[in-house]
């Protein structure tokens, strides 16, 4: 099991996703070019493609063909990128850098950045339904996936998390509220990514439930790792400024629980993720390796 080449797997899948994204998004000279350039700027500035890769890995884990969920998986990356563009705006987190490049509003101005974000979010739903007449998926399954994605990134999901995150700046907050922020801002879309792959891969109810547990565990683990890296990482590796959470008076797990307890929680969540995958065969190896990577990553 330890021999599974996760680096190769991630690299290969990232390339697959990047190519698919390039084909799905309007070319940068499509009229009006300014907004299409902006939509592509942040999307192709970098990014690990974690959400689409999780979707493909979950599809494989339940015995499905990951190739047939690539298009739907790309919608997740479009949504993630829209959220980054909007989060970076001056009215929000006011970040000048993202994925190691100037953020979208620094290059294209605020108006185009807002519209590029809107465009990516809208495009996600166009992509989820593109070619719906020839899709290998049952139409009911696609509707289920669209619904769960929309709920995950709505005002009681990703957007709600960002709202509370903004409102909590410069405030002392409890662990419960921090968990709400992380669970909504990051966790729900990661979980939706896993579920998208599971549902379209034909998972039964039991496996879907287990993968949901897996998604929740790695979602929170991912964010705790982010918080830890914001303190211990390097700007060069992260592609954004280290200590920026502290600068903004943002609450973090190490800030609330201390570094040791945060690392313990990270480890516990990793174990939860692995437990959720008990009963899955070697096809779930990428999911196991991703969970490990999430807590061990340095950027």
């Amino acid at each position: 099991m330890g021999l599974f080449d996760i680096k190769g797997y991630l690299q290969e899948n990232k390339q697959l996703i990047d190519e698919a994204l390039d084909g799905l998004l309007p070319a940068q000279d499509v009229f009006p070019p300014q907004v299409h350039k902006a939509m592509r700027h942040c999307l192709f500035a970098g990014g690990k493609r974690l959400r689409p890769i999780l979707a493909c890995a979950a599809c494989r884990a339940v015995g499905g063909d990951p190739g047939v969920v690539v298009q739907e998986a790309c919608a997740l990356e479009l949504i993630h990128t829209y959220s980054l563009i909007h989060d970076d705006l001056p009215a929000m987190d006011d970040d000048d850098y993202r994925r190691g490049c100037l953020s979208t509003h620094k290059v294209f101005g605020e108006a185009i950045a807002i519209l590029a974000g809107d465009g990516l979010l809208t495009e996600a739903f166009a992509v989820l339904t593109r070619g719906f007449r020839n899709t290998p998926h049952a139409p009911e399954k696609l509707l289920e996936v669209i619904h769960l994605v929309a709920e995950a990134c709505g005002s009681r999901g990703l957007i709600g998390g960002q709202v509370v995150d903004l409102e909590s700046e410069q405030k002392v907050i409890e662990k419960d509220l921090l968990e709400y922020i992380h669970n909504n801002k990051t966790g729900k879309l990661l979980t939706a990514s896993v579920l998208l792959g599971a549902l379209l891969g034909g998972a039964d109810r039991d496996k879907t439930g287990r993968l949901e547990q897996y998604g929740r565990a790695i979602g929170l683990a991912f964010q705790i790792t982010d918080d830890i890296l914001d303190i211990l990482g390097s700007t060069e590796e992260l592609g954004k400024k280290v200590g920026s959470d502290l600068d903004k008076g943002k609450a973090t797990y190490p800030g609330i629980m201390g570094m040791d307890a945060s690392k313990k929680m990270q480890q516990k969540l990793y174990e939860d993720a692995c437990s959720a995958l008990e009963g899955f065969d070697e096809k779930a190896e990428p999911l196991r390796a991703i969970a490990k990577l999430i807590v061990e990553r340095t950027k």
Copy 2:
């Protein structure tokens, strides 16, 4: 035919849509309340509910039961409202008033206004798929509707129109470009509204095509009327400042073609809309009356 009570029809349908919107959107005390209050602020500040009403009227025109498309029709109003909130932002059109009330960012601040817009857009797709297991619509039809709505309001639709509108401020532009702006910023979502009702109402290909023509005609007529009213209307009736297009150096039909030619074009588009409805029976009366109202409205 002239006896059709369009005022009563609109009033009744507006009430139906308002009640449905209220039931579909998270209550304003749902956590986090700030964003849900903001989402409701602009949505319930007023609005004619033209898009949902068009969807219901188109459904009726093809012999469907308008009651069964109310939920999907509401998604159109959520999208329209998100576009208003984002358009009004300081980085965009910078408007302080909307629907006769303070615009969302004036009341809740820019960050929450951006997020409330994002929330409404996302909620639209959640609403289009809510209860998908018990919907009276065929899943393929719903997917088709979701796709056409997403295309209509994407970067080659509504968002593209706003991009070009912003870029054209203080510039002399040709009639073609103005038509691009209006067709994309307003026309495509209005057309999608008509098509949503037609498709879910069970229209055949011929009727769908004719309703698409109708949608295009009233879409452009609507915007020309807007331009005319911006010059001739009163602030009180419009709920926004008269002459604001001129103030911003925005191109308008009267500005490019003159008032007389604009009024002639308005009349021609009304006739096109009516021609498109030839072959429809009295069930299309609301659509005919709406076309008339669009060119005769004073607010």
